[in-house]
Symmetry: D2
Subunit: 419 residues, 4 copies
Amino acid sequence: MSARRGGSKTEKGAESPARGRLGVWVVGLGGGLATTMVCGARMIARGLASNNGLVTSTPAFSHLEVADLGDLVFGGHDIRPVSLHASALEIHRDTGTIPFEPLEAIRADLDAVDENLRLGTVVNCGAAVTALAGKAAKRRRESLADTLDGITRDLEEFRDLHGLRDVVVVNLASTEPRLEPQKDHQSIAGFRRLVAEDRRTAVRASSLYAWAAISLGFPFLNFTPSNAALLPAHLKLAAKKGVPVMGNDGKTGETLVKSALAPMFKYRHLEVMSWQGYNILGDRDGQVLADERNKASKVETKDGVLNRILGYPLHTHVAIDYVPSLSDLKTAWDFIHFRGFLDYKMSLQFTWQGCDAILAAPIVLDMVRLADYAHRSGEEGLMTQLACFFKRPLGVDEHDLHFQFHHLMDYLAARRGAN
Amino acid sequence: MSARRGGSKTEKGAESPARGRLGVWVVGLGGGLATTMVCGARMIARGLASNNGLVTSTPAFSHLEVADLGDLVFGGHDIRPVSLHASALEIHRDTGTIPFEPLEAIRADLDAVDENLRLGTVVNCGAAVTALAGKAAKRRRESLADTLDGITRDLEEFRDLHGLRDVVVVNLASTEPRLEPQKDHQSIAGFRRLVAEDRRTAVRASSLYAWAAISLGFPFLNFTPSNAALLPAHLKLAAKKGVPVMGNDGKTGETLVKSALAPMFKYRHLEVMSWQGYNILGDRDGQVLADERNKASKVETKDGVLNRILGYPLHTHVAIDYVPSLSDLKTAWDFIHFRGFLDYKMSLQFTWQGCDAILAAPIVLDMVRLADYAHRSGEEGLMTQLACFFKRPLGVDEHDLHFQFHHLMDYLAARRGAN
Amino acid sequence: MSARRGGSKTEKGAESPARGRLGVWVVGLGGGLATTMVCGARMIARGLASNNGLVTSTPAFSHLEVADLGDLVFGGHDIRPVSLHASALEIHRDTGTIPFEPLEAIRADLDAVDENLRLGTVVNCGAAVTALAGKAAKRRRESLADTLDGITRDLEEFRDLHGLRDVVVVNLASTEPRLEPQKDHQSIAGFRRLVAEDRRTAVRASSLYAWAAISLGFPFLNFTPSNAALLPAHLKLAAKKGVPVMGNDGKTGETLVKSALAPMFKYRHLEVMSWQGYNILGDRDGQVLADERNKASKVETKDGVLNRILGYPLHTHVAIDYVPSLSDLKTAWDFIHFRGFLDYKMSLQFTWQGCDAILAAPIVLDMVRLADYAHRSGEEGLMTQLACFFKRPLGVDEHDLHFQFHHLMDYLAARRGAN
Amino acid sequence: MSARRGGSKTEKGAESPARGRLGVWVVGLGGGLATTMVCGARMIARGLASNNGLVTSTPAFSHLEVADLGDLVFGGHDIRPVSLHASALEIHRDTGTIPFEPLEAIRADLDAVDENLRLGTVVNCGAAVTALAGKAAKRRRESLADTLDGITRDLEEFRDLHGLRDVVVVNLASTEPRLEPQKDHQSIAGFRRLVAEDRRTAVRASSLYAWAAISLGFPFLNFTPSNAALLPAHLKLAAKKGVPVMGNDGKTGETLVKSALAPMFKYRHLEVMSWQGYNILGDRDGQVLADERNKASKVETKDGVLNRILGYPLHTHVAIDYVPSLSDLKTAWDFIHFRGFLDYKMSLQFTWQGCDAILAAPIVLDMVRLADYAHRSGEEGLMTQLACFFKRPLGVDEHDLHFQFHHLMDYLAARRGAN
């Protein structure tokens, strides 16, 4: 079916607004997800892989002019030195998700991306993240203002060097501890004050990346649960600058299934008494999440979905445990205890065995394409049409996956009319 | 939450069109599903059980005047002598789904229903069903015309004896072998000819029950997969008589989950390569399904759902195996093998442990209420608004559970306007 | 097969040493496990239930003269007022494990056992247990010496009142926090000193129950993980008094499966990399285990099994989470990640759905019978032949279930020769 | 732990009887299992893989002089042209079980094995196997006597060409339909008569391979369920020739788990009411098993295990379904329904996700080593010490995995004494 191999999806005239090189700047470029995404984009562009997993490559999107994968230019920040090829080879050996033979075929492409890596910041990301950072990142003890300037310069340089028509900035870095909201997070002036006064505990790395991106007029996507990336001040800046942004926390595995299944119980007036979710995984994210402070951000976004869909409080539990032997092959077991007619208790269990990076990579590419489209179309602020891709979609109360997806379909239908 | 105990759902004025005794005539009155349904309706009416599982008792339906459970009068056909209390006690001992203490409290109610039982027919139902029948049913070797007359008289007598304002007829009998469509099935005159000429192999028991019901102007629901119940001739008769009807095959367990989950894969462009479903159960239905001819009807309705939702052919398999120790506690294991980005293969498994009768009973009551409402509202022919309750909804191509449910919600919204 | 109904297992002459009334004193008499055990023993004695689950009722034990269930007289301590019938009815309503009709038939038997209840102690059992205690138990602020005397008097009175030939004391109370070993725990004199000096934090309730039992020459079984019940001082006292004792922590569910399955991996040189175990349950034990201090005792005994069977360190994790809707129907999901030829990774998952009380009750009865037999045979100290019934069998390093079971079979074979 | 990389396991003197080149002749050399085995043996010999999965490489076997993997010389028959490297590359691409980088390192080794391939026979193997055969195999319409002569010559040539001290012949071909026993299968003379008279329907391909091997004094192992390989006549010939042989049907997955778990229920007097096993797989074996006649052989060996371990009849079912997308990654779901105290019903489910070839390959190598050892030790006839490796061990009634494994340990202990 969908296994049509690669190449350009549609014939676009040279004058198409979707043509031209589009930058994709990744915070966390050396991570497993970024590596998988870059490899996949290059393999598909070279006809070495199918476009499975890419929603924007399905017929429903055919009337939307989205960027060709071959036109994407990748770069990014990381807190450690990066060789994408080495990272990809490690993934191949660990899980086999990146196939060996096409990997060798795109080696030069990956080496070129390595050239676009810049050293990132770990400011206030928590001990677990800092422990992962290379020496250079740990030494970098600048003021917040200097860090922000540095990030801004990196982004400008990337755009200028490659002659990019736009840059979409995506946060794929490890989960930060939750940032408690403060008054200065509410306004553009407030955030600027925090930076100017170097109040480091009120700002995290993700806050700076997002600020730099939006200030430059670049669309920003927060694929992580880190709440510091898109504070109210950021949203106000996005509105002012006319930039589309969206977050938080990509919905790729257990929560995706939850948000697809939970409505079924509602449709049948089956009372869900308990929904226990156990996630086990072994990659670097798992290590960071083993730190309780970082885990709290994650569990919070996973756990709220059910109450909101079902409309009543229920007993829920979400565990995320680090099991090194699994690498990135996350396994989740969910046990759903529900009660029906005559209050009889029944159960549904599921075991999800997916690879987080494989599930996440294509929807990051989808959102890059849709953010680029939105920017070209003059949209600004929260891209609520992307709600179906997020565990905690900003500005959206609806967690039912089906509603969310049809919201995106409605957006497409409206655009079809507009074109 | 929903465990509010019993009683009447809304305050209705004495003049409400939903008031007055409503007959529910069940084909297969002595079976586990019918027993569970009658027990539940009485327990809820007496405030001994919550209304869990009843969709029509949720707030979304509050503006629709549906019949009180306490106003339902039950009767029906069976091919064996029936004591609903004895049947309920057997279920209590087997699976515990019907609780002992409330069962004792409604004993007199059940004994009263036993009075409304009439001997049914097994004409052309296959050897497996005939083997279950009591002696009297097996002896009954009348012509088709005589059988049809007998059924008609039973229904009229039931209505008249209890002063019922209407009767909804529901087929809950064991699955019959599939009936191959013939020319005479296409028209009212054709069906009448089959009966008149006593062409027994062209008609099954369910064809006669449905014909009698519709002829009398009674709404008819086919909760079984038996395709002989609602032939084209029946639909034409329903249109002519102004009677609402619907079928086939109640969607209660594994197929329900399938139709809720499958859209998720479509939303993410994840290619489902294989979907294997294994059902094990041990009740009388399981015995009948152990006969390959009867099973074929069932598997056909379960298996088509996926292709239609996903839009492409995939490897599917549905097994139904008889495991006596399980009684009615059906267990299903589904293995879903899918492929995502970079063609990487992943899997989702689920184990569904439900009780078929507990899942089916409330939606039969829901449909009785909605069929009564439709009849009072002057609707006729296929009640496509009930598609979400069927594995193979007649007149509906959509198998996505979410679409189906929202179709029902749209129907409700339209009725709200109409009231 | 085994569903032969009740009654006396073997014809014993009036002079058999196994005849005569045998006391079974239960610490925690009002709990779910004790209730299930007493109900089951009475139902089997009255021919109302099969002897399924009772190992001592299988042919392998036929040459051993064990006590008839009908000769057992039950009594015990609890920290709350107890009505066994009320407790049994609650269990029936919650989980259906105790059937209604036979329960009504043994109601008088249960009421008679209620007469043998005495108020227990909560000394130093942790806040979670104390919270469960009734007012009387909480008020009971005696010295340790007085408490010990009280327990002793209760036991003597029970024996004398019913003319019992012996009393087996069984600890089925909620898990206590782990007791750190001290010097005074090592000797009989030391323990006596702790009591005399009223050093309450060095002693827990279970320490006193066991001490009273052994002092009176009554066999003692610790079915709980509480390590305070059988301290080195207790073992020395048991040797001195000629009393058989055994513990700790009955092996009934997930750990039973673990100890049966883990050897398979060893036999095939399959390297188990990770073994994750998730237990969910909702009974009173679950509530107590929600207190981290009490849980620690439990997890420790569950978690050590694998390393010892496999012979190398591996990544293990045992979670026990409280899910109220499950009551006593514990569900466990284990994920076993292993590596074989070419270091290829594979997995085995299992879901165990059992009822703890149903699994534990018969082996408590089995051990009561075997402890009685051992006492009559003049055995003293640790009954290592019972290792297969414990998660952490005292005096036994072997955790392979098969070795443990064959150790019991060897014991039987040796007794057969001795008789 | 066991991941010690390759090389020779023990230092053996040059004069060790285990030294010298040992032939391994594989019927079905081009299949997935044979490919995996040859690749693994070469990778371990070259230090490119651990010896995980090899039982004979564990300390328990250290006193037994078994052949070094580096001394094994592989050859065999197949019914299609074979390139082991191409076959291994296909497996790598399908399932990733054979890793890419070490595969390239042993490419020359594999090419050398290709030289030792000879064209096999499909005589009377059933239509499903014949369909898989290459043209040359299908054309080969010789008499049985000529085929047997050809096989014999191939084996002699292999031994002579490589100067092998012995050859172990292993049947890894696809499952044949069951052969109904006849009088002439009972004696050496009878079998010779069948061949001489060219009675093709009374003999299958595996009968001829085994006969040729045993006649030449070569140990023979039947890893398949095909019952035609070791008929009574073969066993008599093996006794006469002083040759050790063993079969049938390697125990690698679901049945292995069954035989490890079933005893647990016996130990606790838990009555297993039903044990349903569903196997899904997608390799060439799966295709052959889709032919009902070939499947019957397989299911029969899988299904008898439980009755024999538990000692009473129970409801069992074993399904094997072909799911192409799984390739060789067999998945099995087992549902075990059991009844304990108070006849309460509980369940255990497991999902086994293994790779058949990865599980089977090392135990084939183990058995080659142990058959070679047995031959050198002067043992003849059935090697019952290998029972733990077979689903249907010839000459052994015991199916409890633990008994079987300890039987092997006893054999080792006896040999330790003998050395």
